[in-house]
Symmetry: C2
Subunit: 296 residues, 2 copies
C-alpha cells in the first residue's frame, strides 16, 4: 500500500494568502466572519493575517483588528505571517500570538523582489525573530517560497531549499513548509525534496503549501505525504484564484484536500458538509471573475 | 524515490468519450479535424469513435465515416469502442480496425442501466467478441466501468472489478482499464485495486481512465503508476466537461497529464506545445458554458 499518515493538519490560509492576492480590500468584519466560519467547520489551524506594512499589502492593513475580532476559545489555533522584526513586535503587542510563520525565498532573485535583501540577510533577520519567538514561547514555522520552481530562475536546485530548511531547524523552527508558489512542481520533485529533509529532521513537522495552477496540488500533496509531510496549507473555495495575474493561481481549495483525505481515511477533524457551506459563502466575499480558459 | 514508469502511453478519448457526452452532434468533418490535430501533436493512441447504435448515441452515428476520414499513415494507433457483436461486425466491415475496447460495469445496477443485461450476460457477449477479435488479430482492451464508485451502489467492493479483470485476461484481453467514471475515487483506492491485478497479471498492460470531478485525476494517475499502470486515458481540453449532468464531469485534460509526466521525466512522445494549440482549437468545437462554481 501507499505509505500515508493517519492524520493530517490542514492550515486554511485563505484569510492571508487568499485575500492578500485579491485586488480589493475585504472589510475587516468580512474577514472575521470568514475566520469564524472556518472555525465552525473544525479547521484545526488558520493563517489569519500578516503583520506586513500596509504600505506593501494594504489588503491586510487590519491585522490587529482581525486578530482581536476572532474567537480564541475553540480548538482552532492561529498562525500569523511575520515579514520582519517590526512585524513581530506588532504581533506580540496584541498579546494573541501563539504561532508565527516567516518566509524566505529559495532563490536570490525572488527574495530580493520580495523583501529587497539577500537570503543571507533574510536569515539573519529570521534568527532575531526566532530568538524573540522562542523567548515568548511562540511556535515557529519557517516557510520556503518558490522551493521548487522560481519565475525568474526556473527549476530550483534542491541544495538551496535544503540549506534554508537546515538553517530554519537549527535556529529553532518547529516546522518547515515547502511552498510551490507557482504551482509548477510535479510529484517526483516534491517527493525528492521533502524526503531528504524529513530524513535529516525526523522529529520535526514538514508542511506543504501548493498552488493549483496546473491542478497538480492534490498529486503533490499525495507525494509529500508519502515523503512524511503531515501539514498542508489550502484555501477555502480556492480563494485567491487571482484571475488578474497571468500564470499565478490560488492555493489548492481546502474542500478538495479534505475530500481526498476523507476518501483515504486520513483524519482531519474537519466537518466536510459545513466546509462546503463555508466555501460557498467565502466565494461570495470576493466576486470571482470567470477566466476564459474553460476546462484547461 | 517514487516508483514510476519510464514511459506512459496516453490514449486521447476526446473524439469518443468527450463528444459522446456533449448534447450536440459535432459534424463529421470537425471530428476528423480534431483527430488529425491530435495526430499532429504526436498522441500515440486515440479512441476515435464507438460502434454503438445511433439510436442510443446519435452523437457518434458517423463511426464509419470518421474512421474512413482520418489519416492512418502516421505513428498513431486507433481504438474503437465496441458495445456488442453487431458493433464488432460493423467495425470489422470498415477494414480499418486494429484495436477495440469493450466495457463492462463493475456493478449489476449500472451494467443493467447501460446495456440492460447482467454482468454474466455481458461477459458471455464479451467472450464472443474477443474470440472474433483474436481471429482477426485485433488488439483487445477490456474496460471496467465504475470500478471504484458507482452512482447507485456506492463504493464498489474490489472483488467485483478484480473478478471482471481476471475474466477479461482469461478471455484474451491484452490490456485491462479501470475506470473511475464518477471521478470520485481517491489514490489509496486506486492503488489498492491496480496493484493486486497487476500482481496477478504482470505481463499484461493496465490502463487508468479517470474523470476529474474532484480534480483528483492526476493524483489517481500518480497512484496508479506506482501500482504498475502505464496507459492513461484523457481528453484534450477536458472535452466532455458535460456541464449539463450534475456530478459528472469530463475526463482529465490530456495537457494536464502530459504536463505532469513531462515534469517527472516520463516519456509520452507528445509535442506539448502543439498539444496546447490543439486544446484551444478543440474547445472551440463545443461551446463551453462556464459553470458558476468558480474555483471549486
Amino acid at each position: 500500500m501507499l505509505s500515508l499518515p493517519k492524520r493530517v493538519t490542514i492550515v486554511d490560509v485563505s484569510p492571508r494568502d487568499g485575500l492578500q492576492s485579491e485586488p480589493v480590500f475585504v472589510p475587516t468584519e468580512k474577514k472575521i466572519e470568514l475566520i469564524n466560519d472556518l472555525i465552525s467547520a473544525g479547521i484545526p489551524k488558520i493563517e489569519v493575517t500578516s503583520f506586513v506594512s500596509s504600505k506593501w499589502v494594504p489588503q491586510l492593513a487590519d491585522a490587529e483588528q482581525v486578530l482581536a475580532g476572532i474567537s480564541h476559545n475553540g480548538g482552532t489555533s492561529f498562525q500569523v505571517l511575520i515579514p520582519n522584526e517590526r512585524g513581530y513586535e506588532r504581533a506580540r503587542e496584541t498579546g494573541l500570538i501563539r504561532e508565527i510563520t516567516v518566509v524566505v525565498a529559495a532563490t536570490e532573485t525572488l527574495n530580493r523582489k520580495n523583501v529587497n535583501m539577500s537570503i543571507a540577510d533574510s536569515m539573519r533577520q529570521v534568527a532575531t525573530i526566532f530568538a524573540k519567538a522562542k523567548a515568548d514561547n511562540v511556535r515557529i514555522r519557517g516557510s520556503i517560497g518558490v522551493a521548487f520552481v522560481c519565475p525568474y530562475e526556473g527549476r530550483v536546485p534542491p541544495e538551496k531549499p535544503m540549506s534554508i530548511a537546515d538553517q530554519f531547524f537549527k535556529l529553532g523552527a518547529d516546522e518547515v513548509a515547502l511552498a510551490d508558489t507557482l504551482g509548477a512542481a510535479t510529484p517526483d520533485h516534491v517527493y525528492g525534496l521533502f524526503a531528504p529533509i524529513k530524513d535529516r529532521w525526523p522529529d520535526k513537522a514538514m508542511a506543504g503549501h501548493f498552488h493549483d495552477t496546473q491542478q497538480l496540488a492534490l498529486a503533490n500533496i499525495l507525494a509529500a505525504m508519502q515523503a512524511g509531510a503531515e501539514v498542508f496549507d489550502s484555501s477555502v473555495g480556492g480563494l485567491g484564484g487571482c484571475q488578474f495575474t497571468k500564470g499565478a493561481t490560488g492555493n489548492v481549495a481546502t474542500e478538495r484536500v479534505v475530500y481526498m483525505l476523507n476518501g483515504m481515511g486520513i483524519e482531519t477533524g474537519i466537518n466536510y458538509e459545513r466546509l462546503l457551506e463555508v466555501s460557498s459563502q467565502a466565494q461570495a466575499i470576493v466576486p470571482v471573475q470567470q477566466s476564459s480558459a474553460g476546462a484547461v
